[in-house]
Amino acid sequence: MNTGSDATALASIFRAQSGRVLAALIVQLQDFDLAEEALQDAMTQALRLWPTKGVPDNGAAWLLTVARRKAIDHLRRQKTQRAKAAEISLHQTLDQDVLSETDYVIPDERLRLIFTCCHPALSPDAQVALTLRTLCGLSACEIARAFLVSETTMNQRLTRAKAKIRTAAIAYEIPDQTDIFMRLEPVLAVIYLIYNESYLALEGDTPISVDLAAEALRLVKILRKLLPHPEVSGLLALITLHTARRGARINTAGDLVALQDQDRSLWDRGAITKGKKLLLHTLAGRNPGPYQIQAAISALHSESSSWADTDWPQIIGLYGALHKMTPSPVVALNRAVAIANGGDFGRGLQEIRALESRLSTYQPYFAARADVLARFDKPEQARLDYAQAIALSKNAAERRFLQHKLSELT
């Protein structure tokens, strides 16, 4: 037993352990709300007992055992057939576990749970919210603030998602081998979305307390440990490489800095080496996928000493491969921009223009075209495109960045 723990120490234990404990509870009880309530009760009890009696050696197992007892109390009050069955199952596990509390290893049910939270039958918004709530242990209020929606909206989103899981009987199961790749897609998309949202949060108008980038990194690491699929490693490499350049994306005035203008000495070399090593190891498995390719593109940027030195032909080729795997106008835009960056302005611009009808409400489309036009010595057309990009932007830092670009035109 450790003594003398304060509230912050307890909070960090809760934070580190709650995901695993909550996952074990949800999967056993097959009920999100009951699991959350039971864990909350157990934490309240821990807050009361631990500061005086000391933190148990296996705090997580203690929390799980107490939460199971609390769940039994809740179920007793319900008196339905379902509750009765759940109560019996809980009694059985408690009897088995009680003898071995200190060396008891909590079953890691987070993999099952992440497949449930990211089930394609749920909307992407709901998948993200549910994953952050249950696997990262964020509160509805924290998630709401990070995604710039009201707490009421976020609570409704979570409630609806949980109701659908219960009503439509979405299973708490790891998909079988034939389906796993298809089902892995939304899981990776959710983690990448959480990561990308961290940029918006970083650039947003309201400061937020939650580090979504760290949460995404934590999730992808957990996922990789439980499911070592090359695309999971690809996503980890991609996030590692992106994060390495993060420090150079915002200048001291708090403004966005485009890749071509970034001070490359600010890039985290250690993280770049780590990301590249992981990527090379993963690519050696010869089972490529969209995340591995995006990580490879990121790695090429990371290893160029300057914008001019960038290996554009290889980047163009990689975007081409990505487009074959996941055809989308956004990937086609990136490829076209790379063609222009590589020196073939005419062809790049032509391909960019061909995409206009499909990307007419996409802010980055106009920003990218403006950028190419400016360098192609067409300031009049560039001006119109910057104005269009500013009109489409939803973010203050981004607008400032575009405004600055616009003012630089001659």
Binding site: H119, A121, A169, A171
Partner: protein, 113 residues
């Protein structure tokens, strides 16, 4: 758990079906019965044969055709007994119309007694 698989398709879209649809539906039904998931299933006549009815203020009104205009129309259904949504979705994916139409999978309400 019981799930209703509602089979929707746009009129005429079945022409794009590659294969013998009648035989494939027969095979699907046999497979579902053999696996013990089949509870019921029927095909419906087209919406041109439908009547829509409303009772408002005690007065019944009947009109021709479907109540709302939709591109895809309900053409049939299966009632399936499955362990969970994933099993139901797996069966729904085998319904021949899934290749050119849409299968909507809805859980059946169980009222607590």
């Amino acid at each position: 758990m019981q799930y209703m698989a509602l089979i929707y398709s746009a009129p005429g879209s079945e022409e794009s079906y590659d294969g013998d649809m009648f035989a494939d539906y027969g095979a699907f039904g046999q497979a579902a019965i053999a696996a013990g998931v089949f509870k019921a299933g029927d095909a419906l006549h087209p919406v041109a044969m439908a009547s829509s009815l409303q009772v408002r203020g005690g007065k019944t009104s009947v009109t021709d055709g479907p109540f709302a205009e939709t591109k895809e129309q309900l053409g049939g259904y299966y009632l399936l007994e499955c362990a969970d949504l994933d099993e139901a979705l797996k069966w729904a994916a085998k319904i021949p119309t899934a290749k050119y139409g849409t299968i909507e999978v809805r859980p059946i309400v169980v009222f607590d007694t």
